[in-house]
Symmetry: C2
Subunit: 562 residues, 2 copies
């Protein structure tokens, strides 16, 4: 997250940190060894029994971290989440973190890890960024087992009369692999299945990831799995997992993955890292199981939603919070001088140069996200995530602008200083929690039509003018209403770079139209996905993937992982 | 494995067994908690440091368990392996098991688990048969990351001049999925990759599985990965992982998977369950790391190779033992009355009826495998794995035949009685080890041509007449010689049901020709695969997959898993 080349890399800092045995971290939040399944010395899953037993505890306060529209390098939202938690921990609060677990696809491609950075990281970062406790592999397996069972059903007589031209269930891999976006399978003759079009999504876009993240327990998981629509039959009626009768097998494959993963920060704050849908192509929040369990175990829980407030926070508030009955006590909006300058028109390679005018122009982006959070009725603090290239004049401008607008703001230096760099933010967040009366409400009613819900998000969250549906989407709106699916919330799939559906429109675009290309029923997750613009559910690799720098030494230590 | 419907199922017996904490099992073989990475309470990986430190220990005796050609239900080879080990354990020997880890594909399809059966099982069987410690998922990920990196290289300018028509690296999944055998990828236009033919193998057939199983340490793993051939360029020259430069990233993805997994039997005998290539389409042995580590930690190590002696044992002895410098002290050949009757011409649904004449005719199959083991210069014991349907006359006939031919034989009842049912076998194996002078040698010299090596296996192991190469295979023989690959051992891909390449030829077929359709260079594994008959590297699912019976209860316990 720093632009200073002399400082240590994230992995160097991580490898030089001393971890406590995870059983000692567990002790801080009242968990014994019997409540845990260990995965090595520094990772553990929490048992279903323990989760059941803490249900009578009082809930802690939930703090949601979001951001402005990010640069491709990200805003350091995870870093601020970790740093804020470490700051609360250091001033004696009983605090836990609830983060998403990273996808391997971007790790092998270009993105930094999802475990924070500098001195604000969750550890062991190598494990968390690689296979971790296998949750995502379990999801990949369940997703593809379902696909194989469906294709086998068709091959073996097709009792359900599934139309191979109308299959909506795709296969998936936890990789960036553009060559698998559009494929034809079942070639080679009658013994090799039925030829049809297919494609792979990245696993974090699989409905099973969303189901795992929204399920309240094993039974709810199974129920949600059974509701997933996999295809339409020759009468154009939906066919579900329940019709195929394999929700039990899928739940069996997912039973361990459903248990939240306990790890720690560099400063030994307990963290649950569990579930990881992307916020641009999925709902972008960690699991309900982890968030709710953390609220039962700690007085303060800091959680993060993906990308800007237009994506992750909107979905956290309209989908996850509504479905799970959560109410955040405060929101933190992370902003960086660099990203604000980018929104003010500065090119990527000039973001390290002072540019007060561009910064001022870019503030429009922050302003929109502030308005959005206010619309949800939630108190908030703006956190300036400081980079070494930020100048005093730039920081003053941002601080003054916030103060002038009555916005609580804190300069954070958590990347460089860990929790000590987040004390001001922690105090302002505590202040906001104590002195505000959150009046949280989702922005739309479930009773509204899908079209109205989408329009509400575009107008109230993106600041756009209206929606334009493709012919396919219009037909789907009608079909979905016939099927009784129009009372579900909407999960927007949209670029993270712009408030609009055009990634090149930075700052605060106005009067734009958002183009909805296609709708996807996700009845297990309990929402309808609206695909906008060119958003793709399987990323590609860059010209020189990060994988080329990776290696492992003789003792098994990771090299070149960030 | 039993045909008696009144007895408990494998999973019932497993769930009613009391496991010891894995640290207590580890203690028996001199391992402390510091030597282990725990995966839950009953599974652990052994650290590289510990493996390195025991290298100066004296090696124990290695016992290889193989069998006659099996029925589709298997012969209970894993069950005998576990039962024999428990028997040795119960008579005070320091013993360990080295088994393969099961693939999820057949588990969701039709096969019984690979963890033994009845009272001779390795535990926790649910975990081992599902995701276990994630080794196979790591292999799937590395395999497909390599494919994605290769396709990305082609998309981003193709500096290596890879010919998309001559790519040999396939993608893989740990599932039975016939629809993925032959596919076309990269469709949808210039932004979606280069259109080409592709296909998925089951992960256990991936060369990376073979590499992981044959690697001696992390450095050797990386070296082997770098040698893997992924394609040919437009000049028809091989392109390797080393040329692409991603062996470091792949090794990083595999570093935890390379550590052997420690578990226990129902009777608390320590077992390493690690690596799991199929023996029909791959080399069919558990990992060298596990076998060699077990030999350093115990006085007796019982290991199993897949399917009959024509497949797993042939490859164990000609490939794994040669490459790793292993010499078995004794071989156990598992036979069942049921399978012998099948080889004598009895239909599958009549195997429970007494049929002495058919049994006598079927003995020919056992005789051939006995001859094969003798050819390798190894002492052996025939183990009769008793089923409840076996009659006294049938058992007597088999025992008498063995005695008449000077063959050491033991009736085992390990399914029903655990180690106590294998005491006779244990004593006979110990007797053979003490009183024989094994003169083990592989059946062919590496200096022979690929054609001669294949002919040797067909004549000396299968009892066939000769080999017939397809036009493609003939061309490949010539190409591979040009590339200097002809001095490698051969890994035959052949049906497990017959000594020939035709699964319908039971008993002891003679004068048959084996048809080699295609050769595949596996330079990382260090062998050339010869594909015979109709053998497929991606299985399909049956009409009613086992998955339909699977479920999980509210507390997370598996239902319907065998």
């Amino acid at each position: 997250m720093s632009t200073n080349k002399m400082v240590k890399s994230d992995i160097e800092i991580a490898q030089q940190s001393t971890l406590l045995p995870i059983k000692d971290i567990a002790k801080k939040i009242g968990l014994t060894e019997d409540d845990l399944d260990f995965y090595g010395k520094y990772k553990a899953k929490i048992s279903f029994e323990k989760i059941h037993n803490v249900q009578t505890n009082t809930d802690g306060k939930l703090i949601l971290v979001t951001s402005i529209n990010p640069t491709p390098a990200g805003e350091g939202k995870s870093t601020v989440t970790v740093g804020l938690s470490d700051a609360l921990h250091s001033i004696g609060k009983k605090v836990m973190i609830a983060l998403r677990e990273p996808s391997l696809g971007p790790t092998m491609g270009m993105k930094g890890g999802a475990t924070g950075g500098g001195y604000s990281q969750v550890l062991p970062m190598e494990d968390i960024n690689l296979h971790f406790t296998g949750d995502i592999h379990a999801i990949t397996t369940a997703n593809n087992a379902l696909a194989a069972l469906m294709d086998n059903h068709i091959q073996q007589g097709n009792q359900l009369q599934i139309d191979p031209r109308r299959i909506v269930w795709k296969r998936c891999l936890d990789l960036n692999d553009r060559a698998l976006r559009e494929i034809v399978i079942g070639l080679g003759g009658p013994g090799q299945g039925v030829p049809r079009e297919d494609g792979f999504d990245i696993t974090v876009a699989s409905e099973i990831m969303a189901v795992l993240c929204l399920a309240s327990d094993l039974q709810d998981l199974k129920l949600r799995l059974s509701k997933m629509v996999i295809a339409y039959n020759y009468d154009k009626q939906p066919v579900t997992v329940g019709d195929l009768g394999v929700e039990g097998a899928l739940a069996l494959l997912l039973k361990e993955a459903l248990k939240p993963n306990l790890v720690q920060t560099i400063e030994h704050t307990p963290a649950l890292v569990h579930g990881g849908p992307f916020a641009n192509i999925a709902h972008g929040c960690n699991s309900v199981m982890a968030t709710k369990t953390a609220l039962k175990l700690a007085d303060y829980v800091v959680t993060e939603s993906g990308f800007g407030a237009d994506l992750g926070a909107e979905k956290f508030l309209n989908i996850k919070a509504r479905s799970a009955g959560l109410t955040p006590s405060a929101v933190v909006i992370v902003a960086t001088i660099r990203a604000l300058k980018m929104h003010g028109g500065v090119a990527k390679n000039e973001l390290s140069d002072e540019n007060v005018a561009a910064l001022e122009a870019g503030l429009e982006n922050l302003k929109k996200h502030v308005e959005t959070v206010e619309r949800f009725g939630l108190p908030f603090v703006v956190a300036i995530n400081r980079f070494t290239s930020d100048t005093k004049s730039e920081i003053s401008l941002l601080q003054n602008w916030c103060e002038k607008n009555g916005i609580s703001v804190a300069l954070t230096e958590v990347w460089e200083k860990g929790g000590q760099g987040g004390i001001e933010l922690a105090r302002k967040v505590l202040d906001v929690i104590e002195n505000s009366h959150p009046a949280f409400k989702p922005l739309y009613k479930l009773e509204s039509s899908l079209e109205e819900k989408i329009r509400t998000i575009i107008q109230q969250v993106y600041g756009g003018k209206d929606v334009d549906f493709s012919a396919q989407a219009l037909k789907q709106l009608n079909d979905f209403k016939q099927f009784g699916w129009d009372k579900l919330p909407v999960c927007m799939a949209k670029t993270q770079y712009s408030l609009s559906d055009d990634p090149s429109k930075l700052g605060r675009p106005r009067d734009f139209i958002v183009h909805v290309r296609e709708l996807k029923p996700k009845l297990g997750a309990g929402f309808i996905v609206a695909i906008t613009g060119d958003i793709m559910t399987m990323p590609g690799l860059p010209k020189r993937p990060a994988a080329y720098n990776m290696d492992v030494d003789d003792k098994g230590r990771a090299i070149g992982l960030f």
